[in-house]
Symmetry: C2
Subunit: 228 residues, 2 copies
Amino acid sequence: MLTHTTNFSIARNVSRNALAAVPASSHELTGSLEMMGTPMSFARNAEIYGENEPAEYLYKLIGGTVRTSKILSDGRRQVGEFYLPGDIFGLEMDGVHAFSAEAISEVKLLVVKRSAVEALAARDHEIARQLWATTGRELRRVHGHVLLLIKTAQERVAGFLLEMAERVKSTDQIELPMSRQDIADYLGLTIETVSRTLTSLENSAAIALPSSRHVVLRNRAALRRLNA
Amino acid sequence: MLTHTTNFSIARNVSRNALAAVPASSHELTGSLEMMGTPMSFARNAEIYGENEPAEYLYKLIGGTVRTSKILSDGRRQVGEFYLPGDIFGLEMDGVHAFSAEAISEVKLLVVKRSAVEALAARDHEIARQLWATTGRELRRVHGHVLLLIKTAQERVAGFLLEMAERVKSTDQIELPMSRQDIADYLGLTIETVSRTLTSLENSAAIALPSSRHVVLRNRAALRRLNA
DNA sequence: CGACACTTTGACGCACTTCAAAGGGGGTGG
DNA sequence: CCACCCCCTTTGAAGTGCGTCAAAGTGTCG
């Protein structure tokens, strides 16, 4: 049902030089990955990889937004993480993807063969350390996710907005790349509760909602207070 | 309030040979850590390390049970993980502990200086890989924790029991090392809900509770069904 | 045996879910 | 360019699972 805009064999023929000029300091593993990576594009809603597929590749997001998710046996969906440009994902230690990954918007990314990176890591322990650090950063994010999930709806939504604001490093204007349903499945709430909570935050002047995906943080202190 | 039974300066004088005979195959990093580690003991309720303390050491649990936890600003407590013998914990990538660690029972563990392990990892990339793998395993556990937290009380408790049964690798008899409060704080529930849910599982013949910490899994299939 | 900590049980309230329907907003065809 | 449609979001009303408050039961250690 979900289809790639580009498949591997096509992508392999794309020029590898387009992104080679990115400065080595901007993100971890920049340079190494840019050298080895193959640029690919995915359309909105395309599946990048599926749950339980072998994890042969590692992905560095260049543009767009990716969500990982898992469908539970009763049909519920849990969103694991949202990835923004610069983020690395798909790095599973046991060779199988626990979550699937989908493009939320038009996505451009670099695909790197895991075996190639690992071979490099075996020779260069600085690379090895950066791979480890990437997994460590992921671990910290998931810990934060756990902390969100034990809170009230207001706290979860407020925490989510603060997290997104931090990550897009914008001013107080956030353009949410994901739908209400994605947010709900990330926060373990229903879409109705997310919607109602956002309206209530707007009514209490903590945020403004010029359009459904455009959020203005009017009172970060109030949001942080909710973020208990 | 929490006190160590043994402090570092004392522990450093303890014999390093006591546990050196553990077979190298039993767990990852066995051997390397046993060589470098200093045995220590902690009394029930002793703090092993605190939240926000620098993460200078890495711990390999030999005996007893450890819980990591975090106190939220409003006083709620979240339990991050339970560690059983053989588990490695305290391995934070950014040098600061996000959670504190406490001994739930009498605990024996090996303390290893992080810098020493990292120096070893820089020379031996097999060690480096195992450190990475340990973080990866931790990540998978926390993902599982997220999946628990979006479920109903019955599903959380059933999932918890199945997880513990798997980890202690016993038959259907589980001796829970942690209190109801610990379980509640791990599952994001109240102690009353955990207690009521266990009684209801007992009434539905899925488990038996000869004593409050002794659980018998009578019907794993029923528990798995709840575990949606 | 008594004190204390932990666990269980009960009654009630509330936050979130569920079910239902009414708005937008953006793209396409007439 | 307007009209219509489809999908996403918002709002409303009612139900319920879990939390809160309270008290009784159970096991353990001095």
